[in-house]
Symmetry: C2
Subunit: 230 residues, 2 copies
Amino acid sequence: MKTLIIISHPEIKESSSQQYLLHSIPDDHDLTIHHLEEFYSDTPIDVVAEQKLVAAHDRIIFQFPLYWYSSPALLKQWQDEVLTGDFAYGKKGTQLQNKEFALVLLIGAAKSDYQAGGKELFSMDELTKPFQAMAHKTGMIFLKTFSIYQFVYMTEQEKMTLLIDYQLFVTGDPEQSLLSRENWLLNQLEKTNVTTLGTGNEEILQHVIEMIEENRETIDDLKILLDDMN
Amino acid sequence: MKTLIIISHPEIKESSSQQYLLHSIPDDHDLTIHHLEEFYSDTPIDVVAEQKLVAAHDRIIFQFPLYWYSSPALLKQWQDEVLTGDFAYGKKGTQLQNKEFALVLLIGAAKSDYQAGGKELFSMDELTKPFQAMAHKTGMIFLKTFSIYQFVYMTEQEKMTLLIDYQLFVTGDPEQSLLSRENWLLNQLEKTNVTTLGTGNEEILQHVIEMIEENRETIDDLKILLDDMN
């Protein structure tokens, strides 16, 4: 599965959250990062090139900071110019059909503000209806949104968890079952270049892998036991 | 009440609906038309001038064609740059509080497409949540949206009705009760420059005014009768 992350952020260098995520993205040839402001801050959007890029991927992700409950202006311009009738929708526009689509949102306010009675009034599922409608119109499958609330207030531990969740989101199975999380983690750990690890760390890594595998075996045994009891 | 209509449309000259509405707008010193692309297609947005303009009006209207279930990119940019924290929201940003806010939307698809099971999946009330949230955040009162579906397929009669409704919407009482519609119409008719009317038309005009007033008296009498019966 080839994934395209389209990032829109007018001041990406000043954004600690975007930088954190960008630096965590694995070097994977199935993953393309495309920061719009880097290409089109002063020049017109190259519609043909953008359409080719989108067509060459199976999963399209829009990643941006929530500005006035929507995307920055350049991503909106990108939608309006690139997603034409002969490309993205209608009888002739079938290039996006059956691709997966998701949002990665960086949000300044707290999650609890986004509800009836909260400061922001509506939930993220309500505010992203225009993107859901776009996915529907273009025949794409809308995945669960990956919302990051108040990154700056996160502890180091929370940021580490976020990083793993994010990596899994952009590279792995979107359903994120416990089993698929484990498999993905094991895969990542086994791919780790052990020569870059300091003395002792290689053993720790091996220990972590064994522990996850043992836990899985225990869970599987318990499931079989439960099935027998029924 | 001073009304500011902020229009965003990248190709306004080619839009028959926008031209129709623009030409119908009465010459009223309480009404300001501000077409963003006319000022800011190639130049940066003058944030201070825009904030002054907004602050000087009591009702703010965003008028635009629905592109991907939202506004054209320039209006989004305007929101992101003009509606700053020291102007539009938060403790210091109180300049929009208690103003009225409304959307005038030009929509290419049919109204019946905008519902569950319809081609566009969501209603206009669902798709405009980001604007409702903006009004909420800035302390503005969100009025009913004025949605114009499939202008090109309208009959001349429907366009005339649309025009009156639109004029009432941008200049009159937003609640549009029958009484306020009557008062507004009477006011417009009485302001008509009779010297521009051909022979006979002046009498027709007078006749229309009298008829509306008589109808109103009849309705009022019936209401009194009903009240007495209760």
